[in-house]
Assembly symmetry: C2
Homo-oligomer: 407 residues x 2
């Protein structure tokens, strides 16, 4: 596996662009396209929120019913959620306009929106944006970067990853991009994430690979515990690498899954580290759990705790809050077995041994917690299973951003 | 039912005091006692957190195994949680010291602690505090207030309530106090709450009344989603009103339950409104739900949402966040049926009708959201059930308080 630069245009035959469409933001790119020269096999996961945005309803139908997909149109600023029939009509109009300009079937066009809930899209500006995107789309890595920048809302940096593997002697590439950075608590999905690959792989296998991987990647991050109405993670495979088709139960499938995992984990961590207002990436590794599922629940409970998040912001080793968060996770365990460490580039320190404070050095702990990436390592001493979750600190800026997000 | 002033000393035969013991805070009262002249029937609920503080373990045993209880010793500053055998020994030593001074059995003494997790209690200062409390305890309302003040941590005001009813022609009084104000997300319990009454009632009936009521009062509030290691709600009934014993299935039982509900709801709302850093009490009423339990889940999901809480702080009618929080609560419903209103002393405004924005007046909405008590009213239009939950806004001060709580 070879890590590469770039994002959604890293794989063969994928084009992208970003464009200024003034949907809500002014003087910045706020619409993006991903386009494949050849029809793509699709796999996707969507929000589990009962309140589903119109684009989620539209895309679900395309992924389940269309023979293939070939383009995605994305806008930032307005989420097209809680918009009723009118909102759904706008998805259809966006797809129609795109299909005409790109000369592809209407049901091969996916749409995605992110931003304020409850506002209607300015459909004229969306359609004008589609025209710009259709003209500007290009195969370059830079075009992928422009798309990644265009889909940002409160994100402070764009998020891309790409990787290269070999399948049957043939080079296969995967690339992706995503955006956060508030209302992030994905459940079988993420806010908006897009992965492209030139691999030849069946829809069934691609879907399985995706479902198996999200539980340990996108589903293990949280910024604020709010599962969005728009969460979408879409994988497009156009087969242009012309590798021998990836088969179930083979080393090639494992290699492909590892590559997909790399992309998903990289994007998920970027999203957590760039959570709204965040100054630090908070990683929680739970080891020695009795089951994998319990390890996941425990580690996620810690990254979701407001008090742990505020502790990271304050660089204060108030680790009792970590034990508290483990304790209310719903998992049964013996608190008097737990060992707990803080870890970062600045070192590693044991804070709890068998559930009781070690009398550690506060100054050293503060130094470790002052790094931009901090790991909380918890050993449950119950078994062999482990899991990792990612979040970020809770800061004044999170409050500031969300107290006046719409203005 | 007659609302009265005062708290834990409102009912006949109860004494209280607060004292400076320098457990962690300096120059303020930080220990309290509640003492009954006669032995009390006890009922209690405790944290569901797997990590239980030593006083919770101690009190559970007293409530379950002792024939009666007669005194509670409370300290603020250190939670005596994650303190192992040493921490449990300190509960025992506190009870022993109190029993000697008060001339009551050791197993009639309950203890409660609130504050930092993972630190050991300075037991000498605790014992010195018990001596002061035993001397100072008094039956006055002022003594109750001093106790309520002594148990505060990040609370900005003390929390008390009292009420009077008639049972078989006899005056019966209930009074209570509690403290918040972070790590508040009670589950069958609250942070620290104490209710005293002079009613004659059996342990079985008192326990049932308490369990039936907490699901709609203390369990319906949240400040930060963190269920503490120390949550304790204790009811003490000393029988000194000498009413005919309250019997199950009678109007007298209903009257007693209504009085207990008044105390619990009053204290719970005070706790929510004085959440760490809060500038406003956030009330969410869900009506028209299909089941009572779903109404509870829906309303609690809204008051727990970081994004809704930040919206209240910003006085910004970004109500899509409310629909989003309803949607990820786990309850199934039709989003296109929902009506949503904001309400306060400044008026009432409809924001969503059948799941779509009404195109309301933003200025009017902001005015309504700028009051210190704000209600989000949601009509699910699915049935007849309703529930109310309480929380507070998410502010800079919440972050400030929790980024350096220990310093």
């Amino acid at each position: 596996m070879k890590i590469r630069t770039g994002g959604v245009t890293a794989a063969k035959g994928f084009e992208a662009a970003g464009a200024e469409a003034a949907i809500k933001y002014q003087n910045r790119k706020d619409m993006a396209i991903i386009y494949s020269k050849k029809p793509c096999t699709l796999a996707a996961t969507f929000t589990t929120n009962v309140v589903k945005a119109a684009p989620v309803l539209w895309d679900k139908k395309v992924v389940e019913e269309s023979p293939f997909g070939q383009a995605v149109i994305i806008n930032a600023g307005i989420a097209n959620a809680c918009t009723g029939k009118e909102g759904l009509d706008y998805c259809s109009r966006t797809a129609k306009k795109s299909a005409e300009l790109l000369n592809i079937p209407e049901d091969a066009v996916l749409v995605a929106s992110t931003g304020v809930i409850g506002m209607q899209l300015p459909i004229d500006r969306i359609e004008a944006g589609v025209e710009k995107l259709a003209k500007a789309k290009a195969e370059t890595l830079d075009a992928g970067t422009q798309a990644a920048e265009a889909i940002m809302t409160t994100d402070t940096r764009s998020k891309q990853a790409a990787v290269e593997i070999e399948i049957g002697g043939v080079k296969v590439t995967l690339g992706g991009m995503c955006k956060g950075s508030g209302m992030i608590h994905p459940n079988m999905c993420t806010m908006l994430g897009f992965v492209t690959t030139d691999a030849v792989i069946s829809k069934e296998l691609l879907t399985r690979a995706l479902k198996e991987d999200v539980v340990d990647t996108f589903n293990m991050i949280s910024v604020d515990g709010d599962t969005s109405t728009n969460d979408t993670l879409l994988v497009m495979a156009n087969g242009m690498a012309e590798n021998p088709e990836i088969q179930d139960g083979t080393p090639e499938y494992e290699e492909f899954k590892a590559a997909l995992h790399y992309i998903n984990e990289s994007l998920a961590k970027m999203m957590a580290g760039d959570g709204e207002g965040a100054t630090a990436l908070l990683e929680t590794k739970v080891i020695g759990a009795d089951t994998k599922e319990n390890a996941r629940i425990l580690s996620k409970s810690v990254v979701c705790s407001s008090l742990v998040k505020a502790m990271i912001y304050g660089h204060d080793a108030n680790a009792g809050r970590v034990l508290c968060a483990l304790g209310y996770s719903g998992v049964q365990f013996d608190p008097e077995k737990i060992d707990l460490y803080f870890e970062s580039k600045a070192g590693r320190i044991k804070i709890y041994q068998d559930g009781v404070s070690t009398g550690y050095n506060e100054e050293e702990a503060t130094k470790i917690l002052s790094e931009p990436e901090v790991t909380v390592l918890v050993d449950m001493k119950m078994g062999e299973e482990s899991a990792t979750a990612w979040g970020c600190d809770l800061t004044y800026d999170y409050v500031k951003i969300n107290a006046d997000y719409r203005s």
